[in-house]
Amino acid sequence: MATTAETSARIRKSFRPSWVDIFLWAIRIGAILVIALGLIGSIRNFAAGRGLTATQWRDLLTAALSQGAMYGLLALGYSMVYGVLGFINFAHGEVFMSGAMVGFIAANWLFEAGVWDANPILSLVVVLLVAMVTSTLVAILVERVAYRKLRNAPRLIPLITSIGVSFFIQYTFASLFGVAVRTYPQAPEMFRGSLNIGGFRMPWASVLVIIVAILSMIGLWYFVTRTKAGQAMRAVAEDKEIAALMGIDVDRTIVTVFAVGGAMAGVAALMWALLFRGVNFFTGFLPGIKAFTSAVLGGIGNLVGAMGGGVLLGLFEGVGPLLILGGLGVPGVSQLKDVVAFTALVLVLVFRPSGLFGERLGSEDRV
């Protein structure tokens, strides 16, 4: 559908620009102008010694980088499901949230038992496992209960279903655990400081997050390219019917996709705990939307792209408000962080729906 619409748009454009095109160009130019003016303003501020110092910018960058790594892991789930089933799993943010919530219970229990500070690495591993298992189970359950029946339904039906699932999970957690924000115990003693690499200081939490992200990416890459199950996944993504004819159990492969996406969301949940500590039932909503943006930015269906898109979005969201809006002299910039993220979402989807690194979709979804 998209390609035909794009082609026809291109044909029409070659005759005469419609006013829709003119409008889109106006937005493009406007966006570029805003960014350029903001950058210039920031540079002038910086040169004049106003605004943030170099150290503050560096801290901002490291924070943004680790947050971007988290978005990237979350984006993998969106990307894989879209690549294989062709719909946006809106509930993926809630899969992440459930991992973070149940992980909190484990962390709190470990803290009260005194293990948290006595054996920090073991505690983190336990919390990570709990979060991963929870997220994986929730993802599989959702697929089984809600999505399996809709395999061949029109594209919007599973999307609407996933919105329903998303709110159901949110308010299930709200009613079971209460709506208050629960705070993870402070990071174990040894992870509180910063790491010094040649004068470049980085908080341990960020270092840990980035290491975990890299390890997960390597694991995922190995799984997708080197194992039978990963091969089956790619085959199903390419064409479900032919994969079935080749003897691949499509149902089981799709469950695997959800399970892997859920596990990655569980890892992201631990990162959230390390970076922000506070969780409640609504924690999954915004990261979910941002991760989806990352997935599109990296080219949906493209796993390496999803990670790259996440990092890019994290940087843009972390540094963008101060760099661009601050440069324009807009007050209350930190409030507008999410506006910047949503603007990025709109701009990416409108102007670059196939992403920066190219989409990888199955044959039936490309049309």
């Binding site: 559908m1 809709l150 949503f342 709109v346």
Partner: protein, 594 residues
């Protein structure tokens, strides 16, 4: 949920008891019981008595679970051309065992909560009162006998429904539903029959809720009426489903006239609280009708629809409030056309960039726009114009007959709302089969083909956005005058979702469906910040809405009152399958489980 096992028609297996099926449904029902107990639904709903003193909403819920379980356990997939196996005692045994399993799980849960009071730190709803309620006041130990017993009996009742004839089953269903409705609508009945207080005095106990006797009477009367009317045409209205266009038209006119009379008379009878509720229902009907044009007619899933509501409300607020940043002040009527223009512009502004987008990306982008607009209204940056978190205050009401009608004159205000609902309904009805309406239908079914046959898809889609935006701005303008203070928290994403649920539950593409959806959902369960008739639903509203959305998509995507065309589209695959079935004379289940 997807467990639609196709039973083999082979006779030798008829008496077999399917152990997996029993355990599965028993387990599911047990977990559902645990769920409604653990999240506090049982305890909260128990405060609402339906029939004094024997039945509360909480226990209705608890009993409904094994009932539905029994019903589902005994259900057969009926496939045309294949005889279903006869029902035997095995069905009852299965229902009873499932009930035992479910009750046992619930009893185990109660014992667990009782044994570990420390769990409350994590799960605040696990109170001793909940345990007491769940075990029917018999205590944890006796619960192991009582709960499975009750669940098994109710399960058996549930399965025995299948033995009743179609007519009797329907009559009992109508009877039960009417009784529950009579209990829920207590305040409405009391207000409406203020002039004939004998009826409410007969129906309801002095302390509220139905009396046992009157509940039985209502049940019997409703069931008898259902039996009596079966197969007969209701005079005047019976033609609504007729195939003859003339007859259908006549019936529609009669129905419209009846609705008109009710809408004029009802607000006079209702008190302030219920008129407030009716106004909220009206506002959501307006927005539902608007979204119905975008989603139901043109098939564009707009998840940021609340943006237009916000634009309407803020424009009206800024133009009329004496505290606004604008140098001049208009009254409501003068400002109204400007509100419409602003909303139309917002529709164009949001619609244009997304016009060539994939359906699902469009949904997310509109969601993004909705959030951007809310954050901007909320931000400190624009607070000199929009008031930031404080919002815009002191918005005057609607000037009418020398008076200003705002939220405090709700009995008059409700008429304005209903007036605009009528306009919106008329516009939707006229658009439905007009040239542009048919263009929308064509785009919804297949955009490329629509373009190929000469539909200007860009124009048609934009027009859908603009029409939807204008209808939402009606609601926004009324909302501003009603509440007097407009601030960004009234326009969260959840409003968009609830409007979507209203449209989907009612029936996409159908005006009556949207109206019924708004009445049932907003009227009974309540809107995002407004309580409905069942105030106890407050914190569980969104849980229920989410579950409802999933349920509708899986079971009845065309909604409660479907538009004929939309239903056909959504079930196209099944039609194709049926056609194939006729030819081959056998069934290949697409839903068969591996």
């Amino acid at each position: 949920m997807t467990a639609v096992t196709v039973d083999t028609p082979a006779g030798s297996n008829a008496d077999r008891i399917d152990v997996r099926r029993m355990l599965r449904y028993g387990g599911l029902a047990g977990l559902t019981l645990v769920f409604v107990a653990a999240n506090g639904m049982l305890e909260t709903f128990n405060n609402r008595l339906l029939i004094r003193p024997i039945l509360s909403l909480g226990y209705l819920l608890v009993l409904a679970i094994p009932f539905v379980m029994g019903y589902i356990v005994g259900r057969r997939v009926e496939v045309e051309g294949i005889e279903t196996e006869p029902r035997t005692a095995a069905d009852v045994v299965m229902a009873i065992v499932s009930g035992l399993v479910a009750g046992l799980i619930a009893a185990l849960f109660a014992a667990l909560v009782d044994a570990f009071p420390g769990l409350r730190g994590t799960f605040p709803r696990l109170s001793p009162l909940m345990v007491q309620l769940l075990t029917f006041d018999f205590g944890v130990g006796a619960g192991f006998v009582v709960l499975p017993g009750i669940a098994a009996v109710v399960g058996a009742v549930g399965v025995s429904v299948h033995w009743l004839s179609e007519g009797l089953r329907k009559a009992l269903g109508v009877g039960a539903l009417t009784t529950v409705i009579a209990a829920i609508f207590e305040s409405v009945v009391k207000d409406v029959f203020d002039w004939f207080s004998a009826l409410p005095r007969f129906l309801y106990a002095p302390a509220g809720s139905l009396k046992v006797v009157s509940a039985i009477v209502v049940f019997v009367v409703a069931a008898a009426a259902s039996l009596f009317l079966r197969g007969r045409k209701v005079p005047g209205l019976g033609g609504l489903t007729s195939r003859d266009a003339g007859e259908r038209r006549r019936s529609s006119l009669i129905a419209a006239a009846a609705i008109l009379v009710v809408t004029i008379v009802l607000p006079m009878l209702l008190g302030g609280v219920l008129n407030e509720l009716l106004t909220n229902v009206g506002l959501f009907m307006l927005m539902g009708l608007g979204l119905n044009i975008v989603v139901g007619y043109a098939g564009l899933l707009d998840l940021g629809y609340v943006a237009f509501f916000a634009v309407g409300a803020y424009t009206m607020a800024l133009l009329t409030s004496p505290l606004s940043s604008l140098p001049f002040q208009l009254n409501w009527w003068q400002a109204f056309p400007i509100v419409l223009i602003m909303a139309a512009l917002a529709g164009l502004f949001i619609g244009t960039p997304v016009i060539r987008m994939r359906g699902d990306y469009l949904a997310i982008v509109t969601l993004g726009f909705g959030e951007i607009i809310r954050y901007l209204f909320l931000s400190d940056w624009l607070s000199p114009y929009f008031g930031g978190a404080q919002g815009v205050r002191r918005i005057p009401g609607i000037p009418f007959a020398g008076d200003e009608i705002g939220g405090s004159d709700i009995t008059t205000f409700v008429y304005f709302t209903l007036f605009f609902v009528a306009i919106a309904a008329y516009v939707s009805w006229r658009l439905q089969d007009s040239r542009i309406g048919r263009a929308w239908a064509a785009i919804r079914e297949d955009e490329d083909i629509a373009e190929a046959v000469g539909v200007d898809t860009v124009q048609a889609k934009l027009l859908a956005f603009v029409t939807g935006a204008v209808l939402a701005s009606f609601a926004g303008a009324l909302f501003a005058a009603k509440v007097g203070t407009v601030f960004a928290h009234s326009f969260e994403i959840i409003v968009s979702i609830i409007i979507l649920v209203v449209v989907i539950v009612g029936g996409m593409g159908n005006i009556a469906g949207v109206a019924v959806g708004a009445l049932v959902l907003i009227g009974v369960l309540g809107g995002p910040n407004q309580p409905g008739l069942l105030q106890e639903f407050g914190e569980y509203k969104l849980l229920v809405y989410g579950a409802l959305l999933v349920f509708m998509m899986l079971q009845k995507p065309e909604g409660l009152l479907p538009s004929a065309r939309r239903a056909r589209e959504l079930h196209q695959e099944e039609y194709l399958q049926d056609a194939w079935l006729d030819k081959e004379g056998r069934f290949v289940g697409s839903e068969q489980e591996a």
